[in-house]
Amino acid sequence: MKSKIFALMAGVLTLSVFFTGCQSGGGNGAAKEYKPASNVDWYVASSPGGGSDIFSRIISDIMITEGIVDANFIVTNKTDGGGEVVRNEVAHMKGNKADNTLLTFNSGCLMPMVENTKNRASNFRVIAVMAVDKQLLFKTEHTKYADFAEAIEAAKNGETVVIGGSKGDDVATYEALVKEIGVSQDNMKYITYDATSDAITAGLGGHVDFVMSKPAAASEYVEANSLIPVLALSKERYTGNLADAPTLSEVGEYNDVEVPVWRSVVAPASMSDEAVAFWTEAFRKVSETERWQNEYIDKYKLIPDFMDAASATDYITEFEKNFKESKGIQ
């Protein structure tokens, strides 16, 4: 009887391993040329439906439909530890898996990672930066200041001005802004919301004076005149219906403030050079497609800014260095 059970167990185990599906290791590390495995893992450190998720899925889709890569992408959302667990896992991957794993990585990922863990950008191979985003400040009909210059004056005079925005990158931009203006954070306050939409809700309800947002999230409200752009957190003005917002240097005797929000794709540190070269080229091709321009860049009102592996690595390393300095982290 027991032997029957053991025989069945062995059979079931073998069968179920097949059912679960094998990830065939297509790429070979020995030869110089790299070919992706039939299944490439792409990890996203945030929930499905969000910005990073859409970014990853659109790119992987373009790669397949435009015939840029002959592989199946398995996009998996892993949010443990606020994304830190998957970032740590990917950073330390080895072997064949390392050549066939990608991770979406934004400035909003790097900042908490550096602040709260020992993980650093140097633990990854940067494949490409695909797009850049910047913020603006908006006022609403409830805002008692006519423009941002008035708000700066009020803050300098001891009044409390409240800015609402999202977590992560927006906070860094706010800190850079108050530092440049020379106002205390106690007078020009920042309330961190879970998402920009929550901050916009607060603005529309008159609970905060200004809203910090990237163009995409705010565009509908600007169209409807519910949000009025008052400051471009960028080195030059925006275009279209955001063109009226001055940069900080136009508001007063200040330098322009911008803390660009970059979206990139990285891989484990032990990804081979050949694989990195392959992937950076693949991403370059994606950035040149019309679909990318129409379905992502234009739609989400981003700034297309492709950087290949080498330039992206320098860019991100510099960003991390500046961030660590600003926070006093080793």
Partner: protein, 502 residues
């Protein structure tokens, strides 16, 4: 009146064969996904979103709306039949749904109550959405951090009714739930709290595996004691007719459903409050009204109150989403993403620029509501058959569902670990006479309360004035104090009277 005409036009858009078919498909898929513990409406919508890519935008969004909606129905199935809530809004449904199914041996009636109340609540929500959607959305905007703090304080008072016989243990467990919820990243300061240097704890304790464990897996542990009981044949015929409620019971479910429907719609409009908060508030309010049977023992009123509220809140949350482009919840954010994928932009101009789409969607919600009700009732006999499966076979199946469901929430074994640990702990708490419902409630509400309270203080510069100078906040705070003080004063007066008489 104008809205009514626009709605009728919307029906002409939604009542085409392909759109009806899409709504039907969305309803069925949503029911199945909603019933699976671990896959809540957020994950369900996100996972099923790609299925809608094949269709044109209007059809796709109709299917998506139906999916979201029927998820709310589905969540109650496993709550009622297995005491494992399919998603967080169903936690309260299990409190009366499971006793009615198990102890009173009326699973068909429990499911029928849940479905009917869901339909009533949902209909109320959609009607309000139709005629007052944009206006409601604008009222919702006026609820800032101080107003939300006051509302959440009122919602927290409902915990007092769940503490059971020993209020001290109730207080301990409520505080425990709050402390568990405080582990992880603190959004307002951007710094981690109580992570004890562990990377997983940086993200806090995920709610769904926690619920599945505390309620579901601990339930499985106790089930083992029943495995030798002969599975009683359910007396009522396993048919739809056998699951109908008596006229009296239908009457009993009507007022709680209407009341909760109105309350739930309003809660759904509020920023940050979704179907979960709606169902908690619905249940809490029902406690203040008379129920023929005591709540928590399998009362029709109990099931009706939370189910009507959570479906109404789901409808209500469409108001800020469509009228203002503001997603009221995580699920709303996914829906918003879906809408944007099809080139539609919910926001102040949606009703102006895309009236066919907007009204097509709203009219399809009416349709989905009815279709889902029909499907849900039709499958009651099949669902109740689940209860006649011998317990000894249910134990491994439910264990597997708990494990797989928890894994799917976090795509990692961390979810499973949380589920197991909270299941073991939940079992331990039960054995030592600690109630678990207050812990779940405080786990959900406390972070919202804390975050809103702190935001209010940031705006007011550390001053309490903000809670007493803003009109809406003031009214709500007065209600809150009344809810705490009146029972207290009453009991003191009663004690004094008794003292005088003695």
């Amino acid at each position: 009146m104008e809205n009514f005409e626009l709605l009728l036009r919307g029906f002409s858009v939604s009542l085409t064969p392909i759109n009806i078919g899409a709504a039907f498909l969305g309803a069925i898929l949503g029911l199945i996904v909603g019933a699976m513990p671990g896959i809540g409406s957020l994950a369900g919508v996100a996972l099923l979103l790609p299925l809608t890519y094949k269709f044109n935008p209007t059809t796709a969004i109709i299917m998506l709306g139906a999916l979201y909606y029927s998820n709310m129905y589905g969540g109650s199935f496993s709550a009622i039949l297995l005491n494992i809530p399919g998603d967080s809004p169903a936690v309260m449904t299990a409190l009366d749904g499971y006793p009615m199914a198990k102890k009173k041996k009326r699973p068909g009636q429990a499911l029928f109550t849940a479905n009917t109340a869901s339909c009533i609540g949902g209909t109320i929500g959609i009607i309000i959405l139709t005629f007052a959607g944009p206006a409601l959305a604008n009222i919702g905007l006026k609820f800032g951090p101080s107003e939300m703090t006051a509302i959440l304080l009122i919602a927290m008072t409902s915990i007092s009714w769940l503490v059971g016989e020993n209020p001290i243990k109730g207080i301990v467990i409520t505080a425990f739930g709050i402390l568990l919820a405080s582990m992880g990243m603190d959004t307002l300061s951007g710094a981690p709290r109580y992570d004890f240097g562990n990377m997983y704890l940086l993200g806090g304790i995920p709610f769904t595996p926690f619920v599945i464990g505390t309620v579901g897996f601990s339930q499985v542990i106790s089930l083992i004691n029943e495995r030798n009981n002969k599975t009683e044949k359910i007396d009522a015929k396993l048919s739809i007719k056998g699951s109908l409620l008596s006229r009296r019971e239908l009457k009993r479910l009507l007022f709680p459903s209407i009341r909760s429907g109105l309350l739930g719609t309003f809660v759904g409009v509020l920023p940050g409050a979704g179907a979960t908060t709606g169902s908690f508030m619905g249940y809490a309010v029902q406690k203040r009204f008379k129920s023929e049977e005591e709540l928590g023992t399998g009362a029709v009123e109990g099931i009706a109150a939370c189910e009507a509220a959570n479906n109404a809140a789901a409808a209500g949350s469409f108001a800020p989403l469509l009228a203002l482009g503001i997603p009221g919840s995580g699920t709303g954010a996914v829906l918003l993403g879906g809408l944007m994928l099809w080139g539609l932009s919910p926001g102040p101009l949606l009703f102006q620029n895309e009236p066919d789409f907007a009204w097509g969607l709203i009219s399809s919600l009416f349709l989905s509501n009815l279709l889902t009700l029909a499907v849900a009732i039709a499958i009651i006999p099949f669902l109740t058959k689940i209860l006649s499966v011998p317990t000894k076979y249910m134990i491994p199946i439910i264990t597997v569902v708990c494990v797989v469901g928890s894994y799917s929430t976090t795509y990692s074994m961390y979810g499973v670990l949380v589920m197991l640990l909270s299941g073991i702990f939940g079992y331990f708490l039960q054995k030592n006479d600690y109630p678990t419902a207050p812990m779940l409630l405080s786990f959900v509400l406390a972070p919202l309360l804390e975050s809103n309270m702190r935001k209010a203080f940031i705006i007011s510069g550390g001053s309490l004035n903000i809670f007493f100078t803003r009109p809406i906040t003031l009214v709500l705070m007065l209600v809150f104090f009344a809810m705490i003080l009146i029972p207290l004063v009453r009991s003191i007066i009663n004690k004094t009277k008794k003292g005088k008489v003695a």
